[in-house]
Symmetry: C2
Subunit: 137 residues, 2 copies
Amino acid sequence: MLSIGEMSRLSGVKVPTIRFYEEKGLLPRPSRTSGNQRRYDRAALDRLTFIRHARDLGLPLNDIAALLSLEGATGADLDRAHDIAERQRERLRERILRLQRLERELDRIATACDGRHDHVCAVLDAFGDHSECAGDH
Amino acid sequence: MLSIGEMSRLSGVKVPTIRFYEEKGLLPRPSRTSGNQRRYDRAALDRLTFIRHARDLGLPLNDIAALLSLEGATGADLDRAHDIAERQRERLRERILRLQRLERELDRIATACDGRHDHVCAVLDAFGDHSECAGDH
DNA sequence: CCTATTCTCTCCAGCGACTGGAGATTCAAG
DNA sequence: CTTGAATCTCCAGTCGCTGGAGAGAATAGG
């Protein structure tokens, strides 16, 4: 039986967050000691690890709850789990593309006026200008 | 003179968000009509566009406020603006790398048991397993 | 067994960055 | 002048936590 602190250490999820997940129904209420402290079993740790992993992948808690409710499902329900993963993958791809565009832009901004600090430089202008760098300044 | 709705349309920032920015001190309090409605000038629109752009680039409002306070700065202050852009660029690069790792993993998960819905499939397992797909299942 | 230290408990408040509703006013067009 | 859209303020809620207060429980050492 694991204390909440051990769960935290083993899963990498902070103690208050574990309680938060319980409150949100993502983790079942664990058994308690006579002194009212939570004691978890292996299955709870697995479930928490699942949540952690899915969070890392960017899934919102809603989706994670949906997946958890499908645990051990078969047939059509599995398609739903599949859909969630698929949908999330799409979202992720978009996010990456968007971030890459932004990175290029930040590159431009950060290097806009290297070594030319003698006048109001392009960093601020560049942030304000959505088109593109005014070129030579 | 622009109404808040026009500001919203021109900048792509929602009306309540504009008020929120004002409350947070990112936008100066605009002049008002006799009936107490906000009226903005061009400079305000520019500033809002700046904020919008910087937000798109992932900067937190704090950093944006810092940049705004440096507007028209020279010399050493410019280095600070420069630093903010640079720091943000680093953060962004990390985020992209992380997301790309996650994308690969989602690929694996989403395709894990295509067409094999006859048993409890790998989608759920894959989310729970941080190592890697168990191979053929 | 007692004590000291470390966990853990509950409750509640706050973060960032909005978002949206209620209910009252004001503006602009016809 | 009337109507309908836009705006006003205030406040509550969202998401996913995070951290503090103050109290009680577990555990290791003496």
